[in-house]
Point group: D2
Amino acid sequence: MVRFECDYSEGALPQILDLMVKTNMEQTPGYGEDVFCEKARELIRRECQAPDADVYFVVGGTQANKVVIQSYLKSYQGVLSAVSGHINVHETGTIEAGGHKVLPLPSTDGKITPRQVKKAVEDHGGDHHCVQPAMVYISNPTEFGTMYTKSELEELRKVCDQLGMPLFLDGARMGYGLASPGNDLTLADYARLCDVFYIGATKAGALFGEAIVICNESMKKDFKYNIKQNGALLAKGRLLGLQFLGLFGNDKPFYSACQNAVDLAIRLKDAMSDLGIKFMYDSPTNQQFPIMPNNVLRQLEDKYSWNVQEKIDRDNTCVRFCTSWATREEDVNNLIADLKKIYNS
Amino acid sequence: MVRFECDYSEGALPQILDLMVKTNMEQTPGYGEDVFCEKARELIRRECQAPDADVYFVVGGTQANKVVIQSYLKSYQGVLSAVSGHINVHETGTIEAGGHKVLPLPSTDGKITPRQVKKAVEDHGGDHHCVQPAMVYISNPTEFGTMYTKSELEELRKVCDQLGMPLFLDGARMGYGLASPGNDLTLADYARLCDVFYIGATKAGALFGEAIVICNESMKKDFKYNIKQNGALLAKGRLLGLQFLGLFGNDKPFYSACQNAVDLAIRLKDAMSDLGIKFMYDSPTNQQFPIMPNNVLRQLEDKYSWNVQEKIDRDNTCVRFCTSWATREEDVNNLIADLKKIYNS
Amino acid sequence: MVRFECDYSEGALPQILDLMVKTNMEQTPGYGEDVFCEKARELIRRECQAPDADVYFVVGGTQANKVVIQSYLKSYQGVLSAVSGHINVHETGTIEAGGHKVLPLPSTDGKITPRQVKKAVEDHGGDHHCVQPAMVYISNPTEFGTMYTKSELEELRKVCDQLGMPLFLDGARMGYGLASPGNDLTLADYARLCDVFYIGATKAGALFGEAIVICNESMKKDFKYNIKQNGALLAKGRLLGLQFLGLFGNDKPFYSACQNAVDLAIRLKDAMSDLGIKFMYDSPTNQQFPIMPNNVLRQLEDKYSWNVQEKIDRDNTCVRFCTSWATREEDVNNLIADLKKIYNS
Amino acid sequence: MVRFECDYSEGALPQILDLMVKTNMEQTPGYGEDVFCEKARELIRRECQAPDADVYFVVGGTQANKVVIQSYLKSYQGVLSAVSGHINVHETGTIEAGGHKVLPLPSTDGKITPRQVKKAVEDHGGDHHCVQPAMVYISNPTEFGTMYTKSELEELRKVCDQLGMPLFLDGARMGYGLASPGNDLTLADYARLCDVFYIGATKAGALFGEAIVICNESMKKDFKYNIKQNGALLAKGRLLGLQFLGLFGNDKPFYSACQNAVDLAIRLKDAMSDLGIKFMYDSPTNQQFPIMPNNVLRQLEDKYSWNVQEKIDRDNTCVRFCTSWATREEDVNNLIADLKKIYNS
């Protein structure tokens, strides 16, 4: 069975495991106050050209989303998100469990517009019977693999400034976005345009880990308390430092690892297109959402795994194929060959 | 200024004030454990033909919604509601503040269908990354003045039974529904078809008060703890008993008071229709949602008040006119006359 | 049965009922934005010599405590309180339900000291594994009827200033404190020394109502959203305005009504002392906590009601007798006479 | 610098790292549904002689505590804990953030008694103004290194049965308890006597991980939803399986690793006692709490690290020295030698 169902089917890049083995018996303080974390934070600040940013590491994306949003919002405030946003549909209501409403904005491609943000405030702002929109959450790449361009992000930044609202960007798959042919953003752009964002490592070659980068001075205070309260303060915090040291240290394998995934995803996408397969979303990143006949899927299911995204009709299903830093070229080539065989028979 | 902006612009029916004055210096225990509450509960059980129901009184609808929903849901469960449901838009996120997600279902008339409930469970049920739909919330009449018929309610009941989900009905304006020409339900029907519902008194002639009627045996336990925790346990609970004694005692003024409102609302609706005014929702109850030219509204605004529901375009606005138990016939007649004058000039 | 079990056994002062009856059919906007509330707020600001204070009305004390504390605290912060504080023991965990820890300080008389506040910060301040003390909650009179003096309150104020922590005072029984022979405080002192406090009306002659007075500028913003979110925004808010108009309008019956209660409580206390009865707490207010033999209590229980505070041993119980604005002199005299009969036989 | 400040200063046992390296590129499903987790669960069930137990893995103890407690308690219920319990003092209020009150019981040695549990229920049970005690939380070894005996645990079990309350045992340092000379319990005993407990790996030789063992049938349902909601569902869940495979696989290094720590702790304790040093708590496990003169500590602080537990007076401090699976014999011997030098000079 070759797995394309997600981008976290394997362990970690060998560089990271090496670092862990090498430093295993060194003694450090706990909770991220060790020298590995310190170095990793420094590397990230440099990569983001954000020397004053605060950087915190947590294990996963749901933790990152919960901690950032809960740290900022007051009890009667909510966070704007595409209706398809991860916080709105795939975190078992963790934001609501923290007392806050996710305010969903309609979206067909996973993205939201400055106009929608403005309208939400016009519609409900100042009415004490309504949850007040107070933060904008976006993910890039989105849950559908689509991407914001730099100019779109700048427009969102502008409306956030006008409304006095922070822009929070979920970068769980940021590495795959940076490697995309559709990308015109850098980590430095993210740091310049977001109040707070995170760089996902779990899906980009590490065992786990998301680096939260806080650029807005007013959001820095007391952040660590919220990490601890949410059970997100790893005792052996050094492990998180080591993940990011591995990714952003020598040769920065973060970039090359993600490039591998995107190249193979595009190869798969192109091959599928050639066979006449349509896509639900036009993704230039490592997630692809083809709409395929169920009888084709049945012929593949013994050799490959994927995710079901949505039933289209009785005979067709939109599925998700993910590549990752660990995807092997030959596996993609085999899948393409198998597809061709089915379609051309 | 004659107020049509809401149905709680005045105090209470004289019968209720009389009761309060008459009993003022009697000593009773606090927290609803007095003889007035006991009698009122008995009257309500009888009216609902539900001798085994538990009845609790709280001051307002937001309290009722919060307490009922929070009492039932586990942390990872959510409540299905029309997107326009009061709990989803007009309670400043009180359900989320209690840790639960409101799962909004699209709706153009304030109502939801059994099919939508089923689909929500099919889409997300059993996936531990998603909030689990676990309760159905409806209001009748809805926030748009529309109504469920008995057969529609029976269909919802059926799907709730199939899915093992309680049906919770917000009856903040139930009295105006019962008095509507479009109504085919009785309090006994509500008690038969809902697991839990409440009878609103605040908008139906009392100073305040909602009577929560719990019909489902399994939802009764320890309900009072949740009332207290939510700050909804009135020290002088007797006052709530007196409101309902007034409404359901001699001659049951609850019904006649609401009839007055609905009759006048229909008179206004018919007159408006005759003038060619269109309505956003086809409401047979005490709330009417005409779409009116802004220049007409400007000519009325010194004499009458109403609520803005939604801007339609640059020149037209959907507004809400409410009548109530306290609305005077002459005020409605004057409004109609003024409208005719404007439209016929 | 004559009730001494609490101070909310009756309805309201006749002045208040009169106001309600007189204004019953006047139309006003809802939610406390009416002219009665406006006037009541003005009276309270004047009485407190706090022309810039924000004043909000809610129905009960648990609501007031929840809304004030939740409005101020961040998620990782807690509120310091005497272990016997109402928020710590008698509100079914409403503060915790809002996500915040009550940090209990040991106390035998219901009061806390500046030294304890300081120590709590010294012990836990700055440690991100611990809830951070961030607000001081006291009640005056306390749950045991004891009182802070002006100089004690000034010392607490000082330590709060040093620590940058607001002082929140629960005045559910403030009226009975002001009427006490042990009192040296005025409403103006409370406004000067507290960041936020409330004046209880429920127990002091009104049907319900607590007036929250916010003196600290930085705590005013968006307070109303929290009121609504907690189900504490009364639709017919005018009723709350009328309660306080009644109490602080002509002749300010708030003061005289409470004076009656305290005078009778002291009379009862003195008579009990003369009979050799000891008290658990030395209360100069309307709550008295005598320790009485169970066999004496048994002889009284058909004619009088009280609360059990605590079992002392097999034969003796500490009970609470409350007087109120509505307590009749003859009932206290009869109780004293009955006690004398029992003790002297 | 040799670190005795905590028991998580190093990485992991080599067996665990080996497993991780060996399996690194194997593909598995995420979220703990992989074969490594399945095997690890099986090993734990066998070790606990609890073939029907549900076993879940989370990364840390705060997560374990939060998920277990939140899964079980209703909104108005609280959890009984020693005042020194980890959930009461060292988790930044995570239980309260989830809406529940920790009900602290006085304790000088970190343990609570069946009598205290009973009294808590007698004092508050059934009063709807009070949080209802509904779960018992204990840790073993406690936060002070002390231990419950088997018979003490059986007595707690008995009272829990009588009161219909689950017993939840925090085993963050369980391994060090099992290795203690004062121990008479086995994992099978824990499984027999607790409704739910967890086996800590973070402090016992793994990189991270706590294995939650649910023995009570009624607590099993839907547990995974709560894990996800709390951000505690590791994407690469296999890593948690591998930690426990390492600890409970060949030769069960869990036991031997912990034995090393306890042996060295006792050696240190005995040596300190011989020098006349007194201890705050009489701990037979890997944490020792000597009370030492500040001037002695100053002479050690360049070579060794420890935690400050509590200031005793101007000249003396209670400190915590921890040994762990990774502590080297020579480091303990050196510390002892240094102490002797200081004390004998």
